[in-house]
C-alpha cells in the first residue's frame, strides 16, 4: 500500500494532457452502444415520412411475421404507458401554449421523423426489416414550414390550441415610459435590419444510443443513455413514466459530444424504459444518422428584426428587437427558453441607457423540434447586435471598430449594472479588441486590402470582427426562478480523502468531451496538495453522484468546478481541527500549504494531510465530537452568471467569380478569467469557432415547402472537416471573475458565439466595394455569387 505524499502541485494553469484521451483514442472507452447486454431486445422506430398528416390506419401484421420480431406497438397501444406527456421544463409565460407530446404520435404526425410505431426484435436486423413491413395509411395535410406563415395562423397545426403561437415574451426596460420611442425619434442615426438564423443540426459525432435494463426483482430500472443530463433525466423519466424516483438509476457512459442535443428527454428513452418494464427484458436502441437529423432536436431557427438608434457620435441610445422563434412541432425540454437566454444580450458589450425594447414570439411549425444548441440564444443575439453595429457604421460612414470603441462598456465601469438589472462582474473589452487587432495586423491587412481590392479585381480581401459577452455559468437559481425555469442552477460536489490519501471527487457535472476529469482533478490537486493522478473523478451515474444538474450553458467550471473547490475547503477545515487536536495547538495557529498543516512560526510542528486522512479513517484519536472519515459535500448556487468576453477577427478572401470564401486568418482573443488548463481552453475555443464558422459558411437544415428535410445526411449537411477550416490563432486576456474563488468563467460556448458574425462581417467587408451590405447564412458559394450579382446589377433587381 502506498501512501500518497503531500506537496504543492502548482498544477492550475498548466497544459496537463487530458486523461480522457488515451481510452478515447485507443477505442477502449465504452459508449452506450458498446455495452454488452445479454438478452437485450432491439427497438426500431418507424418515423413519419410526412411533415403533417393524419394517421388513418396502421397495419402491423406483416411486421409481426418477420422472424425475430417480438412486438410492434403504435401510439394508441402505448397511450396508457405514460403518466404524463413528455416534459417541457421551461413554461416561459403563464399562458404559454404547449401541446401534449407523447413518445409515439397517436392520430396525427407533426414533423418528418415523428415516431409512429415501435418494433421490438431479438436482433437489430429484424427490427429494421420490420419497419419496411409496417403499413401506415396517412392523409397528408398542408405543412407549416415558414415562420411568418406560421404566425399568420392560416393553417393551425395543433387545432386544440387554436393558434400556432406558443408565447410572446417581452422585456421592456425604460428609464421613463416611452423613452425608447422618443430615442428613435430623436436619433441622428437609425438602422433597421432583418437577420435569419438558419436551423442547424447539432450532429454530435456519436448519435444517440440508449439501453434500459430492468432489475428482475423489485422494479428498479437502469437507463444507460448517451445524454448530457443523467440527473435531470432521472427525475423526468420517473415523472413521465410514473416510476418512483428512487427506482431509477441513470448512467451516461462515454458520450461522444452533445452540443445541447443531448440535453433533452427523448421519446426513445421513454420507449426503451416503458418497453423494458413491460417485457421484463433489457431494451436498447441506437440512432441512425438520418434519424439523428430528423428526430434529434435542431438548433437556432429565428427571424430577428433589430433596430438601433444612435446620437451624432454613434453612441447607441436605444435598442429595439423583435424575434420570431421556431419551436418546431412540439416543445422539448427547454425549447421555449432558448430565445430568453439571448434576450439580455442584444446590446452586446455596449453601454446603453435604459431604453431597451425586446420581444420574442415563438411559433410551432411542422419541423423537427428545436432546443438548446451550443450557445443557445446567445450566438443569435451576438450575431444580431454585431451585424447591426456594422450596419450603423455603414450608415455613419465610419469604421466599425471605431464605432465599437465609442460604445464599449469601459473597464472602469465594471462591475457594471446593465439596463436589465444584471451585473456584468468584470471585463475589459477594449483590451481584448486591441489585442485581437494587433494579432491580426489590422493596419497591415487594411493596407493590403487597399492594394488588392481595386476595380475589376476578382479576389477581394475583407476583415471582420465581433466582440461578445457570453452570459453563462447557468445559473443563479433565483434568476432562473424569475425566468420561470422549473429547476435551479446550483451544482453539487463531494470530495473524499481515502485512507491512503487518494482523493475521490464526485461531481454533478456530466462531461461529454470537455475533459472534466482532467480539470476537476487539477482543482483538487492544487487545493489538497496531492498529485493530479491521485485524484479520481466520478460522474455521470446517479447511483454514485446522486445530486447534480449536469452539463450545459458553460456552467460546469464556474458552478461545478467551484463547488469542488468549496468542498476541498470544507475537507481542509475538518482536517485542520484534527491537525490542531493532534499537534496540540489552536486551529487558528495552523497554516495549510501544499497539503501540509504546520504551526505558524514553527514549521517543524507539522502534519501532512495523508496522516490526517489515515487518522480520520482509524478514528483512534479525533477531537471530541468529530466524525470519522475525511469527506465533505457542497451544493453551490452561484451568486451571478459568469461573463466571459472577447473579440474575434478574421481575414477572408472572396473569389467573386465563383463566390467561394476562403478564411486566410482567424484570431480569437477570449477572456474566460483564470484558466485551469489552457490546453483545454484552446480546445474549447477551437471547437466552438469551427461550429461558428460552420453556421456562417456551411451548415443549414434545408427543408422544402412540404417540410421534407433535404439535408438529412452528412454528404448534404455540410459539417466542415479539418481540411475546410483555417488554422485558428488563439490569444487571451485574463480578467478573473470576482464572484468565485477560482476566478474562472465558462468557455464552452464562447467560440460559437464569436465566430459566425466575425466571418459574416468579413465577407460583407470584402464585398463592400461592390455595394453588398447583407448576406444570408450560410454564405455558400452560390449565395455569395448571387448576392454579388444582385448588388452589381444595381437597382435593376
Amino acid at each position: 500500500m502506498t501512501i500518497t505524499e503531500n506537496k504543492p502541485t502548482n498544477i492550475i494553469g498548466t497544459r496537463l494532457l487530458r486523461r480522457e484521451d488515451p481510452p478515447l483514442l485507443t477505442g477502449e472507452a465504452k459508449f452506450t452502444n458498446d455495452l454488452s447486454i445479454p438478452g437485450a431486445l432491439h427497438l426500431s422506430v418507424l418515423r413519419s415520412p410526412y411533415a403533417h398528416a393524419k394517421i388513418k390506419s396502421i397495419n402491423v401484421s406483416a411486421a409481426l411475421k418477420i422472424a425475430g420480431v417480438v412486438a410492434v406497438y403504435t401510439g394508441k397501444d402505448l397511450q396508457t404507458a405514460w403518466a404524463a406527456p413528455m416534459p417541457c421544463a421551461w413554461p416561459v409565460t403563464p399562458d404559454m401554449k404547449n401541446p401534449p407530446h407523447f413518445p409515439l404520435a397517436i392520430d396525427k404526425v407533426n414533423y418528418v421523423g415523428d415516431g409512429v410505431a415501435a418494433v421490438l426484435a431479438t436482433n437489430e436486423t429484424a427490427s429494421r426489416d420490420a419497419l419496411d413491413a409496417i403499413d401506415v395509411e396517412y392523409e397528408p395535410l398542408q405543412a407549416v414550414v415558414d415562420l411568418e406563415d406560421a404566425l399568420s395562423d392560416k393553417n393551425v397545426i395543433h387545432k386544440d390550441l387554436g393558434t400556432n403561437k406558443s408565447y410572446t415574451w417581452p422585456l421592456l426596460v425604460e428609464e421613463t415610459p416611452g423613452c425608447v420611442e422618443e430615442a428613435f425619434k430623436k436619433a441622428k442615426y437609425k438602422i433597421k435590419e432583418r437577420y435569419v438564423q438558419q436551423r442547424l443540426i447539432p450532429m454530435a459525432m456519436e448519435p444517440r444510443a440508449i439501453a434500459a435494463v430492468p432489475q428482475p426483482f423489485g422494479g428498479d430500472i437502469t437507463l444507460y443513455s448517451s445524454t448530457q443530463i443523467p440527473h435531470i433525466l432521472k427525475v423526468m423519466t420517473a415523472l413521465t413514466l410514473g416510476i418512483p424516483e428512487q427506482q431509477v438509476r441513470v448512467v451516461a457512459p462515454s458520450v461522444g459530444g452533445g452540443f445541447g442535443s443531448k440535453l433533452d428527454v427523448y421519446a426513445e428513452e421513454l420507449l426503451c424504459m416503458a418497453l423494458a418494464r413491460k417485457h421484463s427484458a433489457p431494451v436498447r436502441w441506437v440512432e441512425e444518422r438520418t434519424e439523428n437529423t430528423q428526430a434529434t432536436i435542431q438548433g437556432r431557427g429565428q427571424i430577428q428584426h433589430v433596430e438601433l438608434a444612435a446620437d451624432e457620435n454613434g453612441k447607441i441610445t436605444a435598442v429595439r428587437v423583435r424575434i420570431i422563434g421556431d419551436m418546431g412541432a412540439y416543445l422539448q425540454l427547454v425549447t421555449p427558453g432558448v430565445p430568453l437566454l439571448g434576450a439580455f444580450l442584444y446590446a452586446g458589450v455596449y453601454d446603453i441607457p435604459k431604453a431597451y425594447d425586446f420581444s420574442c414570439t415563438s411559433v410551432f411549425t411542422n419541423l423537427t423540434p428545436t432546443d438548446a444548441y451550443r450557445g443557445a440564444g446567445r450566438p443569435e443575439a451576438t450575431y444580431a447586435i454585431e451585424m447591426a453595429i456594422e450596419a450603423l457604421a455603414r450608415e455613419m460612414k465610419i469604421d466599425s471598430f471605431e464605432l465599437r470603441k465609442r460604445n464599449y462598456i469601459k473597464k472602469e465601469q465594471f462591475p457594471y449594472t446593465a439596463f436589465s438589472g444584471l451585473t456584468y462582474d468584470s471585463g475589459d473589452h477594449l483590451l481584448a479588441a486591441e489585442k485581437a487587432a494587433t494579432m491580426t495586423d489590422l493596419a497591415g491587412v487594411r493596407a493590403q486590402q487597399k492594394k488588392q481590392n481595386v476595380p475589376g479585381a476578382t479576389k477581394l480581401l475583407g476583415v471582420g470582427m465581433s466582440s461578445y459577452f457570453e452570459m453563462c455559468g447557468l445559473a443563479p437559481s433565483r434568476v432562473l426562478a424569475s425566468l420561470n425555469y422549473s429547476a435551479g442552477g446550483w451544482e453539487a460536489a463531494t470530495v473524499r480523502v481515502l485512507p491512503t490519501n487518494k482523493v475521490q471527487v464526485i461531481t454533478g457535472t456530466s462531461p461529454h468531451g470537455q475533459g472534466h476529469e482532467t480539470s476537476w482533478a487539477m482543482i483538487a490537486s492544487e487545493k489538497l496538495g496531492v498529485a493530479p493522478e491521485d485524484v479520481d473523478v466520478l460522474h455521470s451515474d446517479t447511483a454514485i453522484s446522486a445530486l447534480g444538474l449536469d452539463t450545459y450553458g458553460s456552467r460546469s467550471l464556474p458552478v461545478g468546478g467551484v463547488a469542488i473547490a468549496l468542498a476541498c475547503d470544507k475537507v481542509i477545515e475538518k482536517a485542520k481541527l484534527i491537525a490542531a487536536h493532534q499537534l496540540e495547538c489552536a486551529a487558528e495557529d495552523l497554516q495549510f500549504v501544499g497539503g501540509t498543516f504546520s504551526v505558524k512560526g514553527s514549521p517543524d510542528r507539522a502534519l501532512p494531510l495523508a496522516a490526517i486522512a489515515f487518522g480520520a479513517f482509524t478514528a483512534h484519536n479525533l477531537p471530541e465530537g468529530c466524525e470519522p472519515n475525511l469527506e465533505a459535500q457542497v451544493s453551490y448556487d452561484p451568486p451571478n452568471f459568469s461573463w466571459p468576453f472577447g473579440t474575434h477577427m478574421c481575414v477572408v478572401e472572396v473569389d467573386t467569380e465563383t463566390g467561394a470564401v476562403k478564411i486566410l486568418k482567424y484570431i480569437a482573443v477570449d477572456d474566460c478569467g483564470n484558466q485551469i488548463n489552457p490546453l483545454i481552453v484552446e480546445g474549447q475555443v477551437h471547437g466552438g469557432v469551427v461550429q461558428g464558422i460552420a453556421q456562417a459558411l456551411f451548415e443549414e437544415a434545408v427543408y422544402d415547402s412540404d417540410g421534407n428535410l433535404k439535408s438529412s445526411n452528412l454528404s448534404e449537411y455540410l459539417v466542415p472537416a479539418a481540411s475546410d477550416v483555417p488554422a485558428i490563432t488563439t490569444g487571451h486576456t485574463i480578467t478573473p471573475s470576482p464572484t468565485n474563488q477560482l476566478g474562472v468563467k465558462g468557455v464552452g460556448e464562447a467560440g460559437t458565439i464569436g465566430a459566425a458574425p466575425t466571418v459574416m462581417t468579413a465577407i460583407i467587408d470584402a464585398l463592400s466595394s461592390l455595394g453588398v451590405t447583407s448576406m444570408a447564412m450560410p454564405a455558400s458559394p452560390q449565395t455569395v455569387w448571387k448576392t454579388i450579382q444582385e448588388a452589381t446589377r444595381g437597382g435593376k433587381k
Binding site: D129, D132, K710, S715, A721, S723
Partner: protein, 274 residues
C-alpha cells in the same frame, strides 16, 4: 445503416466472376471497392439479392505502359492511380484527378473500374478518362469488346455495360507532354464536385470534360472545337455548357452550375496553356 439481406460469393478471377453473374442474372451485382454500392445498400436504395465480390481479383490490379497507351486494370485502387510513376509520366491528369477523389480512406478502397462502371456524372474519373479519350475493355460470356469512353455513358448511373459484362481494363492514351489542369469546385475538400473540369491542351488541340454537369460525364466538344479553330480561351470557355444539361440541387442551381463551368473551363485552359 442495415442493408436488406443478400447472398455473397467471392470470385478469384474475371472468368469466374462472369460465370457467376451469368448464373444469378440481374439480381446479382459486382462488388469492387464497395464505396458506391454499399452506401446505397445501407440506405436500402439498392437491394441486390447477390453480391459477387471481385475485390480480390488480384490480376486486375495493375498499371502498365503498353506503348501508345497506359493500361490500367479495373480493380486498381484510386490510391495506386494517384501515386503511379507511369501515370505521372504519361497521363499526369489522371493521377492528379485520382488524388482528388474523396478522402484517403475512399481512395484506398475505391477502384477506377468501379468508379467508371457506376457511371456517376459527379465522379471524377469518368470525366477525366473521357477528356483523355480513353477506351474501356469489357468482358462478357461471349468474350471481350472495347468501348470508347465517348460512347460508354448512356444516362444517370447507366452505361453500355450489359448486366453480365465486367469492366476489366481502362486504356488511356499517353498525353505526350500536353498541358493539363483538373479543377474541382466543392464546398468541402473531400466532397464530390459541384462542378469539375478535366482539361488538356497541346497547341491547337484540346480535350475538356465536365463533372456533374448533366446526367452523364460531359465531353465539352464545342470548347475543344473552338480552340482548334483558334478561338481565345475566354471565348471558348463561354461555350462550356453547350453540351451540358445540369440539374439543380442544394449546392447549385442550373444557372450557377453553367456559370461555374465557364469560369472553371477558362481557368483550366489557362493553366493547361502555361
Amino acid at each position: 445503416m442495415i442493408p436488406a439481406a443478400f447472398d455473397y460469393k467471392r470470385a478469384s478471377s474475371a472468368a469466374e466472376a462472369i460465370s457467376l453473374v451469368s448464373q444469378y442474372g440481374s439480381d446479382a451485382k459486382f462488388l469492387a471497392g464497395g464505396h458506391s454500392l454499399l452506401p446505397l445498400m445501407k440506405l436500402r436504395l439498392a437491394q441486390p439479392a447477390m453480391l459477387i465480390d471481385i475485390g480480390r481479383v488480384k490480376d486486375l490490379s495493375y498499371i502498365k505502359d503498353a506503348g501508345n497507351h497506359i493500361a490500367i486494370g479495373a480493380l486498381t485502387r484510386h490510391m495506386d492511380v494517384e501515386t503511379s510513376k507511369v501515370l505521372h509520366e504519361h497521363a499526369p491528369l489522371l493521377a492528379h484527378a485520382a488524388g482528388h477523389v474523396g478522402d484517403a480512406q475512399v481512395r484506398h478502397r475505391g477502384t477506377i473500374g468501379g468508379s467508371i462502371a457506376h457511371a456517376d456524372p459527379a465522379s471524377d474519373l469518368p470525366a477525366t478518362t473521357l477528356a483523355l479519350g480513353a477506351t474501356y475493355v469489357v468482358q462478357g460470356p461471349k468474350g471481350q469488346r472495347e468501348i470508347a469512353a465517348a460512347n460508354f455513358y448512356k444516362g444517370f448511373l447507366e452505361s453500355d455495360l450489359a448486366a453480365d459484362e465486367m469492366l476489366i481494363e481502362i486504356r488511356v492514351p499517353k498525353m505526350q507532354g500536353a498541358g493539363w489542369s483538373f479543377q474541382k469546385f466543392n464546398r468541402r475538400a473531400q466532397d464530390w464536385a459541384i462542378v469539375g473540369v478535366a482539361a488538356w491542351r497541346r497547341k491547337g488541340e484540346a480535350g475538356v470534360a465536365l463533372v456533374n454537369m448533366g446526367s452523364t460525364p460531359i465531353l465539352a466538344t464545342s470548347v475543344a472545337g473552338a480552340i482548334a479553330k483558334g478561338a481565345s480561351i475566354s471565348d471558348a470557355a463561354a461555350m462550356a455548357s453547350n453540351e451540358a444539361d445540369p440539374q439543380s440541387d442544394l449546392n447549385a442551381s442550373t444557372e450557377y452550375r453553367k456559370h461555374l463551368a465557364s469560369v472553371l473551363v477558362r481557368r483550366a485552359l489557362e493553366a493547361a496553356s502555361k
